[in-house]
């Protein structure tokens, strides 16, 4: 016993003062909300960039009022230049992949709910946690600086292939300081993500409450845990890649730049480097990254679906093992981004087979979700609508991957809108649906108030129909050979398809505008929403056993004890149709 152990029971003292409470907070809940806020800013920025791009694409002479203030060189008189289109494209991709899809489903909701769902007071390393958020913020800030420098953001796409990204200003506008800021920003982001992943892993392994075995953790907790394991390896490889890129750009090294290149009439002073090396390093990170983007949403949607269906999934264990196998396989497939890159054609086949194999766990999960819906008692609300919509989007986006996994088909479809349609469907829509579902579901817990249901449903309908209208046509355009990353279509071949592009643009504008409904709902409900009880959804996992919003130490100094798995719904003989995870009430132990 003794004096020392009393302090150690609490991870940190209750926060005092504005700065400690809301700015440099050690509380995982505040940090989760900070990540969410950053993701919100990033997603609206990214969305506006996509509007600018889509409008310019179909009406190339559009004068965007005020755009010349953002960049005199990039948009003189408000009319976007071809190079500025590429700058916006690069920033759109970078913001969305890193600052939205890694931040929102993983860092934001994971930080907020993982400790609570395992019965812990906070993350294992609250100071590291605070550092990882503010480091992410610094990365975002450095990236946004690219907008304000005179030369503008880089034009090499979020993938920044060498030599274009490595040679410096000769390569084009934005490739002087813009690309360096990109490299620095992403390197900083890697460090932040590594710190975050470390925290998640240590917390999950060691701070679980009594009775909380690994298999009794909610599916979303598993998803965050598996995602952190993936993130640990992936970002640990991207960081060296960014360092080497920065050295090529500023220190005269030649990791990625071969000799004999003549760019802007100048023979480049490099030799021996390998552009393919950049691609290998980048995609070794890049492919797991897209699973980092989708797995948390898979976990969140499973978690919410179970609650909405009022019955457990046919097997939570199968979902968990599927997520694990996806995580494992994700490290074996990176070359499918490089089928035509000039790497050994034998490798293409070697990468193709594990890629095709990922279809199996993805199908398993989809069938489990669908099969679980059979005989359920589905409750419809904004959260469950987005969770159900996720299944639709996950299938829609997933099947196009089936084509791209085959190298021979990729010969035709590579770098067309088919690819753009595929990754937007899975990442830009499905993953985002998971985030929306999470927000509607957990808002009452985080704030003690409901989000407005009417507005939520309106948001759902416009978004669901709208995203199909935007991204399904991308696949058709891919089939006819519409090349991607073009600022507009100047040739005869594409002329018949401009009306379809206009349809897409208008859908994008409407769907984007509908997101303002979501934003308004968030802000309004935060202050004026209908008050919510501690367990508004009659849910079972530990987060619903504590007040809404939770106290600073989650469980009020108590240490919860857990008696069974987190999905005791439809239990015969229980009060109501559910039993909470920390209730010692006798339950039917499920077969698996």
């Amino acid at each position: 016993m003794g004096e020392g152990s009393v302090q150690q029971a609490h991870v940190h003292a209750p926060p005092e003062g504005f700065i400690r409470k809301y700015v440099f907070s050690l509380d995982h809940k505040v940090i989760g909300k900070q990540y969410f806020a950053l993701a919100l800013v990033a997603v609206f920025t990214g969305m506006i960039l996509s509007w600018l791009m889509r409008i310019h694409m179909v009406w190339p002479n559009t004068k965007f009022p005020g755009l010349e203030l953002l960049s005199k060189v990039g948009a003189p008189g408000g009319i976007m230049t071809p190079e500025y289109y590429l700058s916006l494209l690069t920033m759109h991709g970078t913001l969305m992949v890193f600052f939205v899809l890694t931040n929102a489903p993983f860092a934001a909701f994971g930080n907020y709910f993982l400790p609570i769902q395992i019965g812990a007071e906070d993350m294992a390393f609250p100071r590291f946690n605070m550092m990882s958020f503010w480091t992410t913020f610094l990365a975002w800030f450095v990236l946004m600086l690219a907008f304000v420098i005179p030369d503008g953001p880089p034009i090499a796409g979020w993938t920044e292939y060498a030599p274009l990204s490595a040679v410096g200003k000769d390569a084009g506008p934005g490739m002087a300081w813009g690309a360096s800021l990109w490299g620095l920003s992403i390197a900083i982001f890697c460090i932040a993500s590594l710190l975050g992943a470390l925290n998640f892993i240590a917390t999950t392994l060691d701070l679980r409450a009594k009775g909380m075995t690994l298999m009794r953790m909610p599916i979303c907790t598993w998803a965050w845990f598996i995602t952190s394991c993936i993130a640990l390896l992936a970002f640990a490889v991207l960081l060296p890649a960014c360092i080497l890129l920065i050295l090529d750009r500023h220190a005269g090294t030649s990791f990625f730049i071969p000799g004999g290149l003549v760019i802007s009439d100048r023979l480049q002073p490099h030799s021996g480097g390998s552009p393919l090396l950049w691609q290998h390093l980048f995609w070794f990170f890049g492919h797991p990254e897209v699973y980092i983007a989708i797995l948390p949403s898979i976990g969140i949607v499973s978690h919410i679906l179970i609650n909405s269906m009022r019955k457990p999934l046919l097997s939570s264990k199968v979902i968990i093992y599927s997520m694990m196998s996806i995580g494992f396989l994700s490290y074996m497939v990176w070359g499918h981004h490089m089928f035509l890159s000039g790497m050994n054609p034998m490798s293409a086949l070697a990468f193709s087979f594990p890629t095709l194999t990922i279809t199996i766990p993805a199908t398993v999960m989809t069938l489990i979700w669908l099969g679980s819906l059979y005989g359920a008692n589905i409750q419809i609300n904004s959260a469950s609508l987005f969770a159900l919509g996720f299944i639709s989007m996950f299938v829609a986006g997933g099947v196009s991957g089936f084509f791209l996994a085959q190298p021979a088909i990729d010969i035709y479809l590579h770098a067309t809108y088919f690819v753009v349609g595929h990754f937007h469907m899975v990442m830009g829509v499905a993953s985002l649906f998971g985030v929306f579902a999470a927000t509607y579901f957990w808002f009452p817990k985080m704030t003690g108030r409901f989000m407005n249901e009417g507005l939520g449903k309106l948001h759902f309908w416009i978004t669901f129909v709208g995203t199909y209208c935007i991204f399904m046509p991308f696949h058709y355009l891919g089939l006819i050979g519409n090349v991607r990353r073009y600022q507009s279509f100047v040739d005869d071949y594409m002329a018949p398809y401009i009306p379809l592009h206009k349809f897409i643009t208008i859908s994008a504008l409407i769907t984007g505008a509908a997101q303002l409904i979501f934003l308004y709902n968030l802000i309004y409900s935060r202050f004026k929403g209908k008050l919510a009880p501690d367990n508004p959804w009659n849910a079972t996992s530990l987060e619903w056993s504590i007040p809404s919003p939770p106290p600073w130490n989650n469980f009020g100094g108590k240490h919860p004890v857990v008696y069974h798995d987190p999905y005791q719904y439809g239990v015969k003989g229980s009060k109501g149709d559910f039993v909470m995870q920390d209730s010692p009430e006798q339950v039917i132990v499920s077969g698996d």
Partner: protein, 266 residues
């Protein structure tokens, strides 16, 4: 609202499938000898993907329709066979089919990448640069002159950096902004990247290949139809990427030989 969502799902699934079923976005005509393998592969995949997509949306819609808005106290049911049946289905049916596609698909890939070009294939070198393609023919001596990057002079149209003064083999090389080829003859094309990454894509030819600076890459193909087809760059290469294109001009053998003679004369 669950039932409304179910109906919407069915509509969306059918509306999405309609353009494919009605072939509203057909692949451009195939003008190559190997393209039909790719097209067949794509077609087979489309059928399987289409069934999976529409099937899943319809099942989702059906269950949503049947099991939402139920009376309170309705009995919960479990899917017959439970998780085991579904896992087995995924592994056996989907797994086998997916892997079968992969195995069959190897043939098309092998035709493009594992079969070497014939010995008498016409050799052409393609150079991609910001923001144009240039093509070089070896001329009557059948040999390409060496490339000297320091001698590249766009102003004087010395795109390849040929040393015409000292390099005998370079003197008869023909440089063209168009890829002119005779029909039904195998072409062996060497890809040389001058500055950054580019890519060579002719949709009708079912050929796409990156240019990687520092790597000696090549593709081979046989065009089967006379005509003029777009060559577009598909690897982001800078501000002019959207405008970087050339034309593949497939001619009859007589026309091609005449063209070669005219070019040599210049």
């Amino acid at each position: 609202m669950g039932k409304l969502f179910a109906v919407a799902l069915v509509i969306i699934a059918l509306v999405s499938a309609y353009p494919i079923l009605m072939n509203k976005y057909p692949l451009p005509e195939d003008i190559s000898t190997h393209g039909h393998q790719i097209d067949e592969q794509l077609h087979d995949t489309m059928i399987e993907a289409g069934i999976a997509f529409v099937g899943a949306q319809l099942v989702l819609a059906f269950f949503l329709f049947s099991y939402s808005g139920r009376k309170p106290g309705s009995r919960l049911k479990s899917f017959p066979g439970g998780a085991k049946v579904l896992v087995m289905f995924a592994f056996v049916i989907v797994g086998l089919e997916v892997l079968a596609l992969g195995v069959v698909g190897q043939k098309a890939w092998a035709t493009v990448y594992f079969t070497p070009p014939k010995a008498d294939a016409l050799e052409i070198q393609a150079q991609a640069e910001q923001f144009a393609f240039y093509f070089r023919y070896p001329g009557p001596d059948g040999k390409f002159g060496s490339i000297h990057p320091d001698k590249i002079d766009e102003g004087n149209q010395n795109y390849f950096g040929l040393d015409l003064a000292n390099d005998v083999e370079a003197r008869d090389d023909i440089v063209s902004g168009e890829l002119v080829v005779p029909v039904n003859r195998e072409i062996h094309m060497f890809l040389h990247g001058k500055d950054v990454g580019h890519s060579f894509y002719v949709r009708e030819l079912r050929i796409q290949q990156d240019f990687v600076p520092g790597l000696d890459l090549s593709v081979h193909f046989t065009p089967t139809k006379i005509g003029r087809y777009e060559i577009v760059c598909t690897q982001l290469c800078g501000l002019g990427h959207y405008n970087m294109k050339a034309y593949l001009n497939v001619m009859s053998l007589t026309d091609f030989e005449k063209w070669l003679k005219d070019q040599s004369a210049q």
